[in-house]
Symmetry: C2
Subunit: 174 residues, 2 copies
Amino acid sequence: MIIKVLRLGHRKARDARITTHVCLTARAFGASEVIITGEDDKRLIENVDDVTERWGGPFRVSYQKDWKKILKEWKGEIIHLTMYGIPIQDIIKKIKESNKDKLVIVGGPRVPGEIFKLADFNVAVTNQPHSEVSALAVFLHMFFEGKELEKRFENPKIEVIPSKSGKKIRESKI
Amino acid sequence: MIIKVLRLGHRKARDARITTHVCLTARAFGASEVIITGEDDKRLIENVDDVTERWGGPFRVSYQKDWKKILKEWKGEIIHLTMYGIPIQDIIKKIKESNKDKLVIVGGPRVPGEIFKLADFNVAVTNQPHSEVSALAVFLHMFFEGKELEKRFENPKIEVIPSKSGKKIRESKI
């Protein structure tokens, strides 16, 4: 099963860091791809690709102008993370029942009302205002039941060696 | 037991949104307070206080200049979230054994080496680069074992009514 993330309504000047955190969270927690809509942002995509290049893949990030086209062409299920949705603890079991690919949508404050209708599931990671970054992380963590924490990436040039009290890394000499 | 979050090295121009997301994540996932160090940022603190005022508390956010003083005066345990630390799945059980108050430290890219030594636990929410926002959310989620998702806040002026496909809120008339 493939998990892709759709980041709606990116604004280059305002959202660069938050969208970068969305992308890196998607990668670290087991999604295979992020598609960014809103404003194109080549530098952001380069930065994320650079992390994948150094820390391992596979992971893709790309820009597409039209979110409607993406949703129209998507063959799997659509999960929209929103504080207005059904509490994740009440719906996650149902979401996990199906083996269909998942498109996980994260937006900003102004998500078009259509998205709520097009989504198979509108899911709230708490019904409180916080962050699309946290919502995505906890959604993926609950979806993968913690197994994402054991994920190994392919062909890393650099890896952390877990340490009690310092910074240890291993770098390949390629 | 009290869980406080210490946000190290805030930079007003660059980190305003990320630090705001750290604060809102701390609140939504059951911490009682965030202390910000680095640059003072009154507007950020007002914004977070405004969320607490509307969505309910109790939750505090404050600025202190000197992180060393905070750590020196802290009587409980210190947990530093860092990608270089021990994987959370290997250490969370041990962290939960003690009833002492917890100070959870989140930093940015350049955390002073001293913090690694002063922490009782250096904890990695994956050993991959991603986001202090995700790391904090998943740490609190694992620490509270999902119970934080049921948390109710006191005296909210506004509450979400969870909905399958729309935005429903309840506002008090005070």
